[in-house]
């Protein structure tokens, strides 16, 4: 975090009275406050063992998903804006209702969920489903457990799980072939009824039909998929920022991707990848890392400080479980994609892992002492 503070201190004179960029002082001020000047420190912290406060924490996550948001606009068009608006409107309504009932202030907790939520949805999903899903996720996944910081499950993933089970057909039919123009779809609106909307299968579904999408396309993101999950490059860029600022813990990310990679490579080596029915054309293990929501889930979902374990050893185990379960679901069940379920399972186990790590440590201390 210090380097960011240094950068701000360095450019500050330019924006002060007499500086070259004085006219832009409000912008500078806003950015500075956004990053470093919390209005009030959170009392009931969502992440007890972390010195950051809630507001700055949330700001960092929002900055880090900007590349993915850009990718969503670029590949899938302006409709994504409507999805963001619906997401915030529906989610904040539920938050506000609970705040009124609890007589608490509305806290910043929803701002991250509200932007992550449309990123994990198929880009032409009906807007009412976008709203219903996030309302369900926030209500059942977060508020009923006591609100921000007390939830067991990642609310966005609870919402996605709900939609995947409740409306499987619409979810599968709402994927969109991304724009292959250089200009992208930055100024166009494409939804299920527009003529050039071709509902297209995701790379993982295609792989089941023995059509392998090129790894380079998967890396850049010009493939079908949930709005924010397609571009591996931009996810790594934003996720990297999140790791540098230490908002996300690198152990979780590394363990998830490493265990996924290792297990997939082992399956490829033993000819056991099932979702590709033709043996021998599996694509390299890195292809599978780029496919679907694994990277997005590893960087932005699994690292959620509220629902992931707090001890470092538990974070390794947590990541390994998520990566391994994703491989198992993708290859040995009826689902082509399993990141959502894998992370939710990880969320369930997280407190138990912490418990194990702490009790082992206490036992060791006792035997030493």
């Amino acid at each position: 975090m210090k380097w960011l503070l240094k950068v701000i201190e360095k450019v500050r004179p330019n924006f002060e009275e007499g500086g070259k960029l004085k006219a832009f002082h409000p912008v500078f001020g806003a950015l500075e406050h956004f990053l470093f000047a919390p209005s009030a420190a959170t009392i009931g912290a969502p992440h007890i063992r972390d010195p950051l406060d809630l507001k700055r924490f949330m700001s960092m996550v929002i900055i880090s998903v900007v590349p993915c948001v850009f990718a969503a606009f670029y590949f899938f068009g302006l409709r994504f804006l409507a999805m963001i608006i619906v997401s915030y409107a529906a989610g904040l309504t539920v938050e506000a209702l609970f705040s009124i009932v609890r007589k608490e202030d509305i806290n910043e907790g929803f701002f991250v969920t509200g932007i992550l939520w449309p990123l994990i949805l198929p880009p032409t999903l009906p807007l009412w489903m976008v709203g219903l899903g996030v309302a369900f996720g926030v209500l059942i996944g977060k508020e009923l457990f006591g609100g921000t910081g007390r939830n067991v499950f990642n609310p966005a993933l609870v919402g996605r799980c709900f939609l995947a089970l409740a409306y499987p057909k619409q979810m599968a039919a709402s994927f969109l072939e991304p724009s292959h123009d250089v200009a992208g779809r930055l100024l166009s609106w494409v939804d299920g009824s527009t003529a050039d909307a071709i509902s297209s299968a995701t790379p993982l579904v295609l792989a089941g039909r023995d059509e392998m999408v090129a790894t380079s396309h998967m890396f850049l993101g010009s493939v079908s998929g949930s709005a924010g999950e397609t571009s591996a490059l931009l996810i790594i860029l934003g996720g990297g920022f999140l790791l540098l600022t230490r908002v996300a813990n690198w152990r979780t990310v590394a363990a998830t991707i490493a265990s996924f990679f290792a297990l997939t490579a082992a399956l490829i080596a033993s000819d056991k990848i099932v979702y590709n029915s033709m043996p021998g054309v599996f694509g390299p293990a890195i292809w599978h890392v780029f496919a679907g929501g694994l990277l997005f889930g590893a960087f932005f979902m699994a690292t959620d400080p509220v629902t992931s374990p707090t001890t470092n050893a538990a974070k390794w185990m947590y990541g390994i479980i998520i990566g391994a379960v994703t491989v198992l679901i993708r290859n040995f069940t009826g689902y082509t994609e399993g990141v959502t379920f894998a992370i939710l399972l990880g969320n369930i186990i997280a407190p138990i892992l912490d418990e194990i790590v702490i009790s082992v440590r206490i036992r060791r201390l006792r035997s030493e002492g």
Binding site: I140, F162, L165, A166, Y167, P168, Q170
Partner: protein, 221 residues
Amino acid sequence: MADNQMVCATCQPKGLCGGKGLVTFKEGAWANNPLAIQVLGICSALAVTNRLENSLVMGAALIFVCVGSNLIVSILRKHTPHRIRMVAEVAIIATFVILFDQFLRAFYWDMSKQLGPYVGLIITNCIVMGRAEAFALQNPPIVSMVDGAANGFGYAVVLAIIGFFRELLGAGEILGHAVPGFSSWYTPNQLMILAPGAFFALGIVIGIFNMIKGPDPEGNK
């Protein structure tokens, strides 16, 4: 068993075991609702509530079995040796369950097929056995019948509520018929048909019951 020393698990602190008529009914159907308050017998509540029709038949079955078994257990309470009372209760309950099952098979074969093993499984339903143990063994026949009816009724109502919403939201229908002004635009939510939907529905119903009932005055949850 009039002189037995057993303590009633559900209503002993309130001393309502010997209560009469209306008090007993209110206690069983509302204050100690077997599903919403005591959370007993939820296996069947989760399994058969995907359609309202199934829920209603299941509720009726439970009322019948509860009333019948409570009556007989209560009549025989002074003649049943204490040590074998459970075996006797199971035999009595099983008799009524088989009666109902045979009735369904004879006259409502389709319904019988839909409910599958769950009618037979009423024998193991905690509510029936619980009422026989907790109430019928210590109370005269008529009050015992009222108690059985109250608990069966409480179970049936909750089941009907869950079945109503699961069928309405899961299939967009009520009792297999389209709802005017609703089914035409409604997109069925398949989660409500699946078992997880039943968990959510039951959880919400229990939550609402507890909200209406308010905190327990004695402070025990």
